[in-house]
Symmetry: C2
Subunit: 302 residues, 2 copies
């Protein structure tokens, strides 16, 4: 079995003050064994997203330190932005990459939540695979009313109170939504057509919301510069619906419209397993296992 590896993609309610975002990022990189992969800030949203990965305990420690910095440096009473939020550190998802299950990530999220309350004194909600109550599964449900509305709601509505700590929100830092979810693959397929209605029709045919493939969100849009229509997708669980199944479905639907695929691309990063599984499926290599990859044998010390 591979060394357990997880990713954390926390969102912070500051997208303009680089000094604040730097301080939060520095809290992450202060933990040995954590690889800082990516950061992005949006001034309109007034929000930043950090991406880092490593061994589960190291990643959880880095997330705790980042939440601590965010609570110290961000005051939601003076925060404005287009993106809904309830906390300085708004949402902290833990994502299994290799050698660890979603359930184990949920257990780690619970430990992280307790540590956040004990150390930083900001209350915590658990969402997605870490949710303790059905009404907290979806992030948008937890976030309803945002910081301002939720601060009031917890005074009277028991059902809306935090899972850990509180019941009042932190006066300046609000609350943190901590959880576990599968890796999300952002995947786009460009079509050899300028007719965006074909991309829209394909998106409707393959997405989960209209009875298509499980765990696939899709829209059709036009790439003006390329002069090509695109099916733009989020694959929310590549174990349920692998990337090659999505590719084949789009290829098949496109063929019904007499259109071929120009190219495809994954936005950002994807887990190695997603790519190796796709290759094995394409090749009809039924007996593939990760142990057949030479390097996977080495890292396991065989």
């Amino acid at each position: 079995v591979a060394e357990p590896l997880i990713e954390c993609v926390p969102n912070f309610s500051e997208g303009r003050d680089v000094g604040v975002i730097d301080a939060i990022a520095a809290a992450v990189t202060s933990v040995a064994g954590v690889s800082f992969l990516h950061r992005t800030s949006d001034a309109d949203h007034n929000r930043s997203v950090l991406t880092f990965a490593g061994a589960p305990d190291a990643v959880a420690e880095a997330a705790l330190r980042a939440v601590e910095q965010a609570a110290r440096l961000i005051d939601l009473r003076h925060h404005q932005g287009k993106h809904p939020r309830i906390g300085a550190a708004d949402v902290v998802p833990l994502v299994p990459i290799d050698g660890i299950s979603l359930k184990e990530c949920a257990a780690l999220a619970h430990a992280l939540g307790r540590a956040i309350w004990e150390t930083v004194h900001v209350p915590v909600y658990y969402y997605e695979a870490a949710a303790l109550r059905p009404q907290c599964r979806r992030l948008e449900d937890v976030r309803r009313g945002q910081f301002e509305g939720l601060s009031k709601a917890v005074e009277t509505d028991e059902a809306r109170r935090p899972d850990v700590g509180g019941p009042a929100l932190h006066p300046s830092a609000g609350a943190v939504v901590v959880g576990a979810r599968q890796f999300l693959i952002a995947y786009n397929i460009d079509l050899n057509t300028q007719d965006v209605s074909i991309a829209k029709a394909i998106a409707r045919a393959i997405r989960a919301s209209s009875g298509g493939l499980d765990c696939v969100k899709a829209i059709g849009l036009m790439l003006e510069e390329r002069g090509q229509a695109q099916v733009s997708m989020n694959l929310t669980d590549f174990e349920v619906t692998p990337i090659d199944v999505v590719f084949r479905a789009v290829e098949r639907e496109a063929a019904r419209h007499g259109v071929s695929i120009a190219r495809s691309e994954v936005i950002g990063l994807l887990p190695r397993r997603a790519l190796e599984q796709a290759a094995a499926h394409f090749l009809h290599w039924d007996e593939y296992s990760p142990g057949r990859v030479l390097e996977n044998r080495l890292s396991n010390g065989l």
Copy 2:
């Protein structure tokens, strides 16, 4: 750039005496940082093949120690077997896996050859990418006449003398053929037909020797137990002809005979790059690079 990683697949002229093969394998595992991946012995061939991998210097040291043991324990004057051989340690190929070029492996082969002569006093020929002379490129040309014939030939024919050491072969251990070559992928595709003539026709259509794909060897044969015909292949350079190109070519040729592909499989191991490249090609993901795989970022310490 990834840490350089190579594989070594030496062949030894002993396939019956487990004690001797154990001693040679123990010489390999005595080197820290070398991963022992596989061993196989054939009594009819009276020959064993070991597979190990690791950092280039560690692998070369392990190969040297294995050759030393083989020269000490195997006496070709008393060796009989079906497989042609000129040495106790018969052939020692070094194979680039990641972060190292074929040319660099050839340079390492030259250093290993010199060390074998200096330490073990067995003369060395260089073959394939490490060959210093065209007549030594192909292993079968070096091995012509086998131990008995070559021992005689070197007395009179300068062109057949070793590249390092000699000119006489070692009286009991013969000579070693050291070289560098690309990773060989053994790849089979099973067809939904009992007609072996279709597998043979596809093999002829796609193999290099009859004007097909570069670096592909192929035969058609019958899998009696499964009741399916198989195209059995060696891909001698997956950088030149990737595995997905081979799959597509077989799929296309099979379709001309009205036959579909039942399954495919890689025998043994394959390098990660071969599988990730195949997935990217299948997906028409033109801008793929190994840096897009999350785990590849981690190992590079980003």
